[in-house]
Symmetry: C2
């Protein structure tokens, strides 16, 4: 296996130390927890995380305007409840803590256990579960993917604007209902801890409906020029969203070059122009990745001026751009 | 060949249209030229470019505080003199234009021809040639690589601070003498126009001394844990730079995940701490890439307060971070 790393058992710990070197506005308080150096003293604190391998998520979004802490498990592995509790206790304010959880069995179990432990220690703690991946039919089983980053930003905006914990939870849950994502890949990721590729894919095939943990997609298909791929993904998204006025995130899966993400943006824009959509804002880049997977996802949010204000509000995260 | 694209002949044109969709502060004035939407009316204008495939360079650095125009040739192919001249004429101010050229035969020839054509049309035009790649022994043959992005930033700072064309050229040339880079790769890039990989590399090998056009490195070696790779690269850089106080850029080659760049940063920092270096600033990310190559380069600049001020000065480019 070829990776730019040292010991595989130290992959996440080494990465977090590197993030601290790159960004002096955060601190690493354990091998798995990254927090703002200047803690928030008022407003609801926001904690997210999950397995590592999705960089810049989640550590890159620990910043004024977004998260207060990220709990970074081993690669593609949920962090343990005690680490999540460490993060909650470190950043908690009197207004309480909201946990933003991606819908994976391990994450939900461990974050909810940490939530209970925090409540037993007298910390007011609530959680929301992101389920934006429409490639899964059953809505309760839908995974949390790139749309989670927009949830971080929206929740950060609400916290900065003085909403209380119950109101933030309610507004964020209404938002989560509206965020829809679908992804695809042309090359799998190589997982540093196992030395194995997430899946095998023939030289002329693509995966549609991938998750972000190196797992197979829902189906394989012969690769097409990008306009055909966009049409295929949008056909699925349009079953979920009837609004014509949208906010869009085109998210690279980690090893997709900027040139190809720009080409995706170009043909996406051609498609929506032809279909009469009105795009209020584009996010294009790497937000929620799967190590060195090549591919992208499209996230759609129906336009709402409050959402747009939230996304346009300042954050010091250099990854939310 | 698997790429997220449509027609290979339209790769660069499609990419530039996509960049415009992502960033409303630039305009595309031809298939190959990207300029600021709000042109500078005073101060020396800065034009750079070369072959495409190095994104976010150069188009991503067309922004207040950095470049006024980027001329984006086909993938790994120098733009023609007439395109470069179009860019010069579009952004020229009364104070003149500085061309920032990477040292490749085609780029030097075509940019210098455009410079002559501009001068014949009465535009005051000068050029500088970046040669930061120390993997080539002969200094005159050294290629321009990641350090070029720091040249863009320094020149932009000088222009914004009112230096005239002759002074900027002199100061930038002195800066270029001090910027030193060396790179490595563990996987080659797949070139969309040819469908070929830049080189073949065995499953346990790495390339040391790579350029940014998919070409082989200076030598191949069995891959090592990252501390050994850093020592190997720093041994070369320390032959060139004797100062202990440095500014550092760790540049991803396009498909290197953020997690691995952070791990590189961590072990680089361990190395320099042990050796008694004092690092004044780190840049870590994708600045000057080679499509989907996996690897990184290290660029060192001896500390100088003016350089640090220049790098810390604001720019609206979201890629200079």
């Amino acid at each position: 296996m070829k990776k730019l790393m040292n010991e595989k058992t130290q992959f996440v710990a080494d990465m977090l130390k590197g993030i601290k070197i790159m960004d002096n506005s955060v601190d690493v308080i354990s091998d798995n927890v990254i927090v703002r150096s200047k803690l928030k003293t008022k407003g609801v604190a926001l904690v997210s995380g999950g397995g590592s391998g999705h960089e810049p998520a989640h550590a890159g979004f620990v910043a004024d305007g977004m998260l207060d802490a990220a709990v970074c498990g081993e690669v593609f592995t949920s962090p343990t409840p005690d680490k999540i509790l460490d993060a909650i206790k470190h950043v908690a304010t009197e207004e309480g803590v909201l946990l933003i959880i991606k819908n994976y069995a391990g994450d939900v179990m461990n974050f909810e256990m940490a939530q209970e432990m925090a409540e037993m220690e007298g910390i007011s703690c609530q959680s929301v579960i992101v389920r934006d991946d429409i490639s899964i039919d059953n809505e309760q089983d839908r995974r949390g993917v790139a749309g989670t980053v927009l949830v971080h930003k929206y929740a950060g905006y609400l916290s900065d604007n003085g909403y209380n914990l119950a109101d933030i939870k309610e507004k964020v849950e209404a938002f989560i209902e509206k965020v829809k994502t679908i992804g695809m890949a042309i090359y799998p990721c190589l997982v540093p801890t196992t030395g194995q590729y997430g899946f095998d894919l023939e030289d002329d095939q693509m995966e549609i409906g991938i998750g972000i943990h190196g797992e197979r997609g829902i189906y394989q298909e012969k690769i097409e020029p990008i306009p055909g791929i966009i049409k295929r993904l949008m056909n699925e998204l349009e079953k979920e969203i009837s609004e014509k006025s949208l906010i869009v995130m085109i998210n690279g899966m980690g090893a997709t070059p900027d040139s190809e993400l720009a080409i995706v943006a170009n043909y996406f824009n051609e498609y929506v122009n032809e279909k009469g959509f009105d795009i209020k804002k584009y996010f294009v880049g790497n937000y929620m990745t799967a190590l060195d997977m090549q591919g992208f996802s499209i996230t759609l949010v129906p336009y709402d001026q409050e959402y747009l204000d939230a996304f346009n509000a300042p954050t010091v995260s250099k990854y939310f751009k």
